[in-house]
Subunit: 400 residues, 2 copies
Amino acid sequence: MTQAIPSPVSIGVVRETAPGERRVALDPAAVAALVKRGHPVLVERGAGAAASFPDAQYVTFGARLGSRTEVIEQSDVLAVVRAPVASLATQLRSGQTVIGLLDPLNEPETVADLAGRGVTAVAFELLPRTLSRAQSMDALSSQASAAGYRAAVVAASAFGRYLPMMITASGTATPAKVLVIGTGVAGLQAIATARRLGAVVTGYDVREASRREVESLGAIFLTSSVSQTLDAGGYAVELTPDERATQQAELERAIVEFDIVITTAKVPGHKPPVLISAATLGRMRAGSVCVDLGSSARGGNVEGSVPDTSTMTPNGVTVIGAGELATDLPSSASQMYGRNVVAVVASLFPHGILAFDPKDDVHRAIVVTLGGDVLSDAVRAAMKLPPAASAATQKKVPTS
Amino acid sequence: MTQAIPSPVSIGVVRETAPGERRVALDPAAVAALVKRGHPVLVERGAGAAASFPDAQYVTFGARLGSRTEVIEQSDVLAVVRAPVASLATQLRSGQTVIGLLDPLNEPETVADLAGRGVTAVAFELLPRTLSRAQSMDALSSQASAAGYRAAVVAASAFGRYLPMMITASGTATPAKVLVIGTGVAGLQAIATARRLGAVVTGYDVREASRREVESLGAIFLTSSVSQTLDAGGYAVELTPDERATQQAELERAIVEFDIVITTAKVPGHKPPVLISAATLGRMRAGSVCVDLGSSARGGNVEGSVPDTSTMTPNGVTVIGAGELATDLPSSASQMYGRNVVAVVASLFPHGILAFDPKDDVHRAIVVTLGGDVLSDAVRAAMKLPPAASAATQKKVPTS
């Protein structure tokens, strides 16, 4: 007697419904890659429209179209960006998997709901980003890259002057001075793009180690006189309140010299730090622009920034709350995100069916719920649950 | 007995009131230049606010602030951008001068009104642009330069993908393909800016002579197989209907291969030519972007484009009516415009008082009305008046 070989799981993608969200979790190329791996793929009609991927293109690449309900009911695995999952969860059933930016540290109730329903939840936010084999799955990085590029474009749009130096018969314009605070993926991409546009760019980071990356992009590196100690994982150790105040005062003194300031400090699961106070905004020149990539419902890096909104201070400084900028580059952001999803599927479903490996650092980190349990200790802590039985072998969740 | 030396005329600037207009005819640096030439300068309170020039800065540079009425009543010369002059005219009196983009070929009634009131009207549009000594006065060029830069920024903002090639752990993005149609000042600036942003850029012009400029910016030059004859002034001679159809068909075949198309064909005093038909828009890819710098109330270069509005075709092409883009770069555009105004004032008021020289090519071209007469034959023709007595010596008005 031959053993039945289980057929590969089907993968579905639905239209994102968060306000302003234009991305889609799978672009047509990602669909083609999944189909090639043997997965049937179901796409909600219109799922890619806002990212300029017409339904016909999905069909050409091997997907079947359906209604939202059909896709949710008939897919073994649902790929989402932000979805939002809280409302999707009620439609999911035991044995289904959902992969996305599930924000598990801020959404413990959704995690509890998914666990209770027996849904396997896979969250990009918990990926161990320092592992090189995880890079192709790193949706936080791919979306931060899109956001950083976009931040420079948004700043150029909002700024009333040329970014490059211009020498014309009607006079010479000096180049704009741009400061990018935080030189992670988003910051470096913002620096590169502002440089492309001809601005004179400075990159600020408390980590002296960033100097080389910033300077390699043709930008000036600025750091704090307060030396920052790093832990074994490469993350900054908390400063004393005095050190922190000195650092912040230095930064704010520098800020007022710039035309455009882009802030990029996001801390998953925490309120973003305020880097530009209202007092500093009040000392900036009329016409200056601040783009706050840290902006969120819980506040941002610029005091008073409002998510997804451009406001102007009484002294004429434009403040743009831009915490979800990747969605404004929907085609490219979705293309990269789609590749991240394909990489996760390839890792978790190596032969087309779920093969969770508790010894795999990546699996153990990103699989938040499985078989009714919450596996991630970081998420368990956010849910005020005791550590899982396997707590001793769990890795620390990166905080930046 | 000594002769009284007349004191230099006073110069005023009011807030622009055209919808969406953010420029101001004099920036603080232009005020400083005029004050240095001996002119008292009056600035309407808030005139520069939308261009990020606070009142205090004007005062620092030597201006006196006043109400709109005070500025209009007390200024010998009023500098405006678009104003609009039709509504300003009723407040002007004999002996006053108004300098600006007065659009005299399209606004014959305003010209008649100004002439009837004895106002001296000076229009930047009529400047002989090929004279090198007129370059510093060339507001059409300075504003076209701002519009061209801005067109590339607007296109990058509206486009859902990266402009540059991106090589990341989440895949490689190909660079965007940009076509700029018309390689005058605006077109060349759009090419340069799109190139800065990393796009692969093609510049199209019917004039083979543009090839070198386009290629020097690192762009590909595209032209028509229909050879275009130029007249003595360097302007294109009208094609036969057949030649025109062939040229247009070739262009439209090329257009559908591009992600972003920027059109720049404006013809002062005429309806802009349609370069992208609705049928061609319908064949472009979803996600493509057209920026129409020719857009106006009388139509644009893209069929169906709506001035100052972004629309989307049923097949997902974004069409942006962008006929007045310089106003969205208000600080830089005003700085350049201010220098153009200062250059005109220096030429027409060499010792601080009006010294119109009928033998000066520049004076004769830009001074539309003087002492109750309409001087410009081009404007007289638009007003259906016979040529002025000096018609034989008048120059042809440039048409592009």
